[in-house]
Structures are given as C-alpha cells and as structure tokens.
C-alpha cells in the first residue's frame, strides 16, 4: 500500500486538495483511504463520506498533535492494509508551526494557503522545510506576481521541494500533484522507520495538567524567555 502524509496549517485547504487529488488518481472507489488526525473537532469526515472515501478520524485532545500522530501512525498503516487500500493518505493539521509529521521514505506534502501572507512560508519551519512537495492553495484569487513572490518565500526555506499551485475548488493543479504522488513508495509497516524531525519537546508540569502560574509550579522541560532591560 502506498502511503502519503499531508500536513498544513488549519483551514489551509488540505481536505479539498485531498478530495481533488483522489478524484484525479482514477483509482477504484474504496481503494484510497484517509486517516485524519485532528485536535478537538472536525467536520471533514462528512465531506469524505459524501465522496465515498473510507475515513477514520482521531482527536489528539490534550496531547501534542505531533506526539499523537507518531504514536498512532503505524496503527493507521495496519488499518489501511487490513482494509485492502491501494493508497492511504494521512491528513494532519500543524498547529504550532513546529509540527512536522513527516517520515523518512514516506512521501510528504505540505499544504499552505497563499492568502496567509508572503512571509508565512518563512515562519512555518519543519512543516514546510521538510516536505517533498508544497501545495499552495487559493492562489487563483491573487495576482501572478504575488504567486511568484510566495513561491520564492517557499524556496527560501525549502529549496528541494516542488511547489505546486492547486485550486481546491476547480481542481486545477491537482493533476500534476497526483503525478508526483505516483512516486510514493509501498509501505508494509513503519516499525523502526524514523521521523524526519523531532516532535516538539514536552513533559513539563503543564503537560501533566498543571494550571497554576508561577516559578514554583514549573518543573521538567521548560524554556524561559529573556527580557532585556530597555
């Protein structure tokens, strides 16, 4: 089974891109499955159901979404294989600009909204930096020049990635994206494979439910800000 991980900031258009992508691939209905990793609630499962795409949704809740992703991804793969999929696509929302749910050897796509600001690609970090392909959405309503500037910002952070403009509504661009994804490798298990980047560090008192503020309540992995005298 081919495995593809797709990630991107909330509301960047991941689901629309995936739906258009699956439509473009021309695989039999039911042979491409999606696992959606979300945080609290999600309405996208309805859209997948409408398109007759098998979908499984998981909510990270109080756990860091990346930690949640990595501790469930191999189970997702096993579910995909058991269900007889030819292809499994995982969708996850990067929330802290530090997320990077990409695995070495697994095809990775970052979806980013061109309306989010020209400098946004330069701020996103590993989520963008380590992707194989960067799919830019909503670019049909901005000028050609702004599109080029946006692509330039992406190249600054990730010079290896292919930048593809995808229109999540008309599907323009999803054809070429689907072509790229044909290169995705077959995966039987992810056991002992490695993430491309460490997940955000944690395990401090706040991770385990502390709510009180102040130095005496702060334990474990902490990072303190430095305030300089003016």
């Amino acid at each position: 089974m081919k495995l593809i991980t797709i990630a991107g900031p909330p509301s960047s258009g991941k689901t629309s891109v995936i739906l258009k992508l699956i439509e473009c691939m021309g695989l039999p209905i039911g042979s491409v499955g999606v696992v959606k990793f979300d945080c609290l609630t999600s309405f996208d499962n309805l859209r997948y159901r409408e398109a007759n795409i098998p979908i499984q949704t998981g909510f990270s809740g109080k756990i860091c979404p990346d930690h949640y992703f990595v501790s469930n991804i191999d189970d997702a793969v096993q579910w995909g294989i058991r269900s007889g999929f030819q292809m499994l696509i995982t969708e996850s929302a990067g929330l802290c600009n530090r997320c990077s749910p990409y695995i070495n050897g697994v095809f990775s796509v970052c979806v980013i909204d061109s309306l989010s600001g020209t400098n946004t690609p330069r701020k996103i970090g590993p989520l963008l930096k380590l992707a194989d392909i960067v799919a830019v959405t909503k670019a049909d309503i901005i000028s050609q020049a702004e599109r080029e500037v946006f692509a330039f910002s992406i190249k600054q952070v990730n010079s290896h990635a292919r930048v593809v403009f995808v229109n999540g509504i008309t599907g323009q661009g999803s054809f070429i994206l689907a072509k790229y994804l044909q290169q995705a490798r077959d995966i039987q298990t992810l056991r002992d494979m490695k993430l491309r980047f460490t997940t955000p560090a944690a395990v401090c008192s706040y991770c385990t439910g502390e709510t009180r503020i102040g130095e005496s309540h702060q334990m474990g992995m902490m990072k303190k800000m430095e305030f300089k005298k003016l």
Binding site: Q144, F152, K155
Partner: protein, 340 residues
Amino acid sequence: MIRKDFLALANDISIEDLLLEHPIVADFLANLRLDNIPRQLPLSLAIEEMDEDIIQEFGLDKFGVLISFCEFMETFSTAKAQNPAVATLTIIGGLNKSGEPENISLTISSGDIVSIVGPTGSGKSRLLNDIECLAQGDTPTMRRILVNGVELDDLQRFEMEGKLVAQLSQNMNFVMDLTVREFLYLHAKSRLTVNAEQVIEKCFLGANALAGEKFLLDTKITQLSGGQSRALMIADTAYISNSPIVLIDEIENAGIDRRQAIELLAQREKLVFISTHDPLLALSADKRIVIKNGGIIKVMEIIQAEKQSLKAIEKLDGILQNLRHCLREGDQITVDLLKA
C-alpha cells in the same frame, strides 16, 4: 557559481561584505533567526559564536548552517533563475466530451496572440489547463502539448512546472498591503531581476499607459481600481515575470486599454492565449480557437474583412470608453456623445 564557490564566500569574506554583494543573504539570516551574529566575521567563523540551541530548533547543526547557506545561494543564483525558452508550442488534438477526435495540430510561436472562444462551459478553461500542465495525452481531453516541437517526459514537465505559464484573470486581486513601488521591488527581488530600478520604472510607466486613470508609485496596491490593478498586473507580467507563456481568462470591461495590453505582452515575445467573449480582444489575435462540447472544432485565421470590422469595433469601444470618462468627470451623458 556552484556550491563550492558559495562555501568559499562563507569562509573568506565578512558577512558585511557578503550582504553588500548578495543582499539576499539578509533573508537567509532572518529565516534562521541569525540577524544578530557578528557581521565583521565571515559566516563560517560567526556561526561558531552562535547559540547552538537556536540552530537546533531549525533541525541544523553549525556545519548544517553552512550547507544550507550554499544550497540557498545556489537556489537563488541568477543562473538557476532562467526560464526555459519557448520558441513554439504545439497543441495536438485529443477528444471532445463525446469522445470524438479533435483532428487538430496547431503550432504557435512566441510573440503570437491566440484567442479561445466558445460558449460558457464549452471547455475553454480546460484547454488553458492542458497548456498549463503540459498535457501529454494523460488528461481527460487526451490532448498533447509539445514545447519546441518535442514531447516532454514527466521529469521535464516537473522541471518546467510553474516557470512556463503566467496567468491573469478577472478574479485576481492584490492582497499584499504594499505600495506599488514596494510591490514591484519585492517581485523583482523574487525574480532576481538585474537592474531592478530600471525595470520597475519601465513597468510602472507601462502600467500607467494602459490604465484609464493614472496612479502613483506610492499608491497602495490594494487601493488601485479594478482597471488600474489589471493594468499593473499586465505590465508586471510583461516586464518582471519571466514566464514565456501568458494565459488570460476574461479581462473584458476592465477599464484598461485591452488591445494595447495584449500587444505589450506580444512585443515582449510572450506567447499569449486569451479566453474571451469580447470581440475586440478576440479579433486582436491572429488565430482564434473555437471550442464546443469540450473539443476544438476549428482554428480560424483572422481575415481582411475581420480586420476592417475590428476598426469599427474599436470605434464603438472608444465611444463607450469616452462615456465612462464623461461619467467620471461629472458630465451629462447625452445622445451627442454616442455619435463621436
């Protein structure tokens, strides 16, 4: 310059001098939150003074910073920014919506203008999409697009992806909060334009020549009228975008000199496709592709009689433009104005 040369830059000259020679280095430093490193040192020595923790947050070590620097510089060296040259583009017909063959092979050269006409929903955008993705018989229309007479393999298509085609449509807006000057500067920078100042000046003058109402270099791009925006987009595509092919989807009634706009693009040796319902624009093209039921039914060459009618259409258009002008100026709109 290749990677090795950039490594020499990082070793031999101070960051200060590096910035003078390659201003884009400032972006590299800012991206890695390294704005405050000692600038009198070369990069390779300066990184020794950096906070290892910050570098690690970006998934790098000190050596990795040097490698990324070289990759960054290589990506943005002017040699790499060149767009592929397109002398000709050939459209080889596929199938229409009923599966009937189009039986067509059309070759267009740079500097040519081609209009695409047909009822709404007939497949005009589909043709533009085929051109954009350089279809090789693998899209629903089965069309093939040859560049300079040759078929392309997937690798070549991926290589050209995004560099070949510039698009312009009625739905496009400016979203950046910048003045015209800042905007053009930013775009020129991203295209690694040489002599940016001159190019920006040309582009600005070109845009104002097309726009019904003039604007300034200090005008915010978001405050431009529809016509002014379109004029700036076209001039920008002509002077700053390097894409050899321009696809235009509906730019009628934009309050700009449409014919002059199209000619400007053609003069810049672009290959221009215009999908339109506007007779003035359609007849500005030498060739006209007619689409029906998802397929190209014919390709028309403009004939002498049409060229003559174009003059009459221009006259009508001139009357309408003048009406708009009078309306803006607060004049009375009387039947006399229609005679012109």
